[in-house]
Symmetry: C2
């Protein structure tokens, strides 16, 4: 049976899967959070994963919402000329910032965007992921996004939604759309 002492429990929420809407759903939670007058902190683990619309939109919600663009750009793509060590150091810094922000007591909601991707790339180890989650304060809501969430994370989360791609416009020959894709 649900226990009323659970009412103030902060949830661990995971948005994963190959479909669009993971980061977008996390951003939607920001709107709800500011409706309650909450403070929100977002940490981006993959720099450049957001485009101008999202960045400018979030800036308009300042100072209630703080965005920390961390990590390096995408790993292993054509114009990635950084070493694994550089990517790893940037991810480690993002991880430290995440823990610091979680423990600061300043925020009701912390979003770790694309953390799953950093884990899958080996930039963050399973041990580091587990330590991060175990240090989540009881009342803090923590949202983690990115495809291929680890089994351990899914098992330890309170709410997990898989965004499944049913249909994507690129397959129909439509170019990326401003405001939708970038």
């Amino acid at each position: 049976m649900p226990d009323s002492t659970n009412r103030d429990k902060g949830l661990l929420i995971v948005y994963t899967g190959d479909g669009k809407g993971k980061t977008t759903a996390a951003l939607g939670m920001v709107i709800r959070a500011i409706g309650y007058g909450w403070k929100v902190c977002i940490i981006q683990f993959i720099k450049g994963s957001w485009k101008y619309g999202e960045l400018d939109g979030i800036k308009r919600l300042s100072p209630n919402v703080e965005l920390n663009v961390m990590g390096e750009g995408f790993v292993g793509i054509i114009d990635d000329n950084k070493s694994f060590e550089e990517h790893r150091n940037a991810a480690k810094k993002a991880l430290e910032t995440s823990i610091e922000k979680m423990l600061s007591g300043l925020y009701e909601l912390v979003i770790l965007d694309e953390l799953n991707v950093a884990v899958n790339l080996g930039l963050i180890t399973q041990d580091e992921l587990e330590e991060l989650i175990l240090r989540k304060p009881e009342r803090l809501h923590l949202v983690i996004t990115g495809r291929n969430a680890r089994k351990w994370l899914i098992e330890n989360a309170d709410l997990v939604t898989e965004m499944k791609e049913i249909k994507h416009p690129f397959r129909k020959g439509i170019l990326a759309q401003k405001g939708i894709d970038f």
Copy 2:
């Protein structure tokens, strides 16, 4: 091959499935949209489906974002004492408003929240749904949310994501959380 004349095509986007994050992803798109200085119109087909956090959060984005709370409350639940005819009339009015807002030229993004639910309840017919979609202006981005999207809608959409429930906190015996569920 993608055609560059497609760049200004407005997309028809569907968020469906039984998992959490459908309306939330639509709200996340609002943040991106205001980042571009776009005007957004949201029409709620099921009154009461949003809770205070979302309503107050969206109000803070006024006047760039307009929310039309329409339709009646949930159909067929314990405190629903309205006739099918009353629900049907309210849905029809929401439908008319949707078409009017779509055609007004005032918005770059229109969100029809829980429209799929209204269709599944029989409050909106398949013919009405098809007419609505066919009247979407070429450049308008239209987002439709709600579980059990019709096959026709999925076939005619540009981007469809199914939110799949992998894990839900109520199953773990945790009560609904402020800012997350209401």
